[in-house]
């Protein structure tokens, strides 16, 4: 196996976790959106697959999508697709990042960020 085949294998393998899907069904899982496992899981929820259970353990407390991907050593795109499934199954909740749009940066938020940095 050539080196580039090996790399390709390493890249493709995680996508077996998504059943080959490379596109998420929802756009809410951005890098700094935080996800939290629903505890206890709803009665009707399907039994999580092993890799889903790994995710659920990692987000027993709120954790950002980027952190989850790094901790699981999986591409963000793979984790996001799995999170879409978990959300649909009612097993997690998602909290969007603080909205930041051009020119509507609110002073209150900025001041809080600055104060926090000042305490470092």
């Amino acid at each position: 196996m050539s080196e580039s085949d090996a790399v390709a294998g390493r890249l493709v393998r995680p996508f077996t976790l998504t059943g080959g899907r490379t596109r998420p069904s929802r756009a809410c899982f951005t890098l700094i959106a935080t996800v939290t496992a629903v505890d206890p899981p709803p009665d009707h929820a399907p039994r999580p697959q092993p890799e889903q259970a790994r995710i659920l353990r990692r987000c027993a407390r709120p954790v950002a999508v980027a952190e989850l991907a790094a901790l699981l050593d999986l591409p963000v795109s793979v984790v996001v697709i799995m999170l879409c499934d978990l959300l649909e199954a009612g097993l997690i909740t998602v909290h969007p990042p603080h909205p930041v749009t051009d020119r509507t940066l609110d002073l209150d938020l900025l001041q809080k960020v600055r104060d926090g940095l000042g305490r470092l």
Binding site: S4, V7, A8, L11, V12, F15, G20, T22, R23, T30, L31, I32, A33, T34, T36, A37, V38, D39, R61, P62, A64, A66, E67, A69, A70, L71, P75, V76, S77, T93, V94, H95, P97, H98, P99, V100, D102, L105, D106, L107, L109, L110, Q111, K112, V113, R114, D115, G116, L117, G118, L120
Partner: protein, 187 residues
């Protein structure tokens, strides 16, 4: 409800050429050792719909380093070191969405390696500060000289820093926040 405990999150980008000290700066202020995620390029950039794309196209990944600063019990700041190589810049658009602003790091010995980063934020009207990393701990040029040589407008702050030093990196972030606060007050 568990979800309601989740903190609000914001992000700042640390940009600049390859090897200018981005990961070093993220690491010096982050409360965690910088984390890294790798994305297959085809998925990140080219929007393939199936695995064939990943298997056939040149297999490369684009890596993203990031760190975290808990600002208070309701607010967490993430710092993302942008991928240095120019050909990975399509990643930046995603990264830039929702960012408060950016730090463009400059290696004082080869400032041209960060020109493209400056350009990127100027074009998109994303507020940024320029932080000059002294590398051997010295700063041969005063900020104004660097501003001139980079043809930066007067309203872009230029700071001298040591990316390895926590307080120095923190001060760069504070300068960015001061810039953002000043422009928010102007409305």
């Amino acid at each position: 409800m568990a979800g309601s405990e989740a903190p609000d999150t914001v992000k700042i980008l640390i940009a600049g050429g390859f090897g200018v000290g981005k990961t070093t700066m993220v690491g010096s202020v982050s409360e965690i050792v910088p984390l890294r995620t790798e994305e297959p390029l085809t998925v990140a950039g080219l929007g393939v719909d199936d695995l064939a794309g990943i298997e056939q196209k040149k297999a490369t990944t684009v890596a993203l380093d990031f760190g975290r600063i808990t600002l208070n019990d309701r607010l967490v700041l993430y710092l993302f070191g942008t991928p240095g190589q120019q050909r990975f810049w399509f990643m930046w658009n995603d990264l830039a969405v929702g960012a408060l602003g950016a730090v463009v790091l400059i290696d004082v010995r080869r400032p041209e390696s960060s020109f493209a980063a400056i350009d990127f934020f100027e074009r998109r009207d994303i507020p940024f500060v320029v932080a000059v990393n002294g590398f051997d701990g010295s700063h041969p040029y005063p900020p104004e000289e660097i501003r001139d040589s980079l043809a930066l407008p007067d309203d872009v702050p230029v700071l001298l820093c040591d990316a390895r030093e926590r307080t120095s990196s923190r001060d760069v972030l504070i300068a960015l926040l001061d810039l953002l606060i000043a422009s928010a007050k102007q409305g």
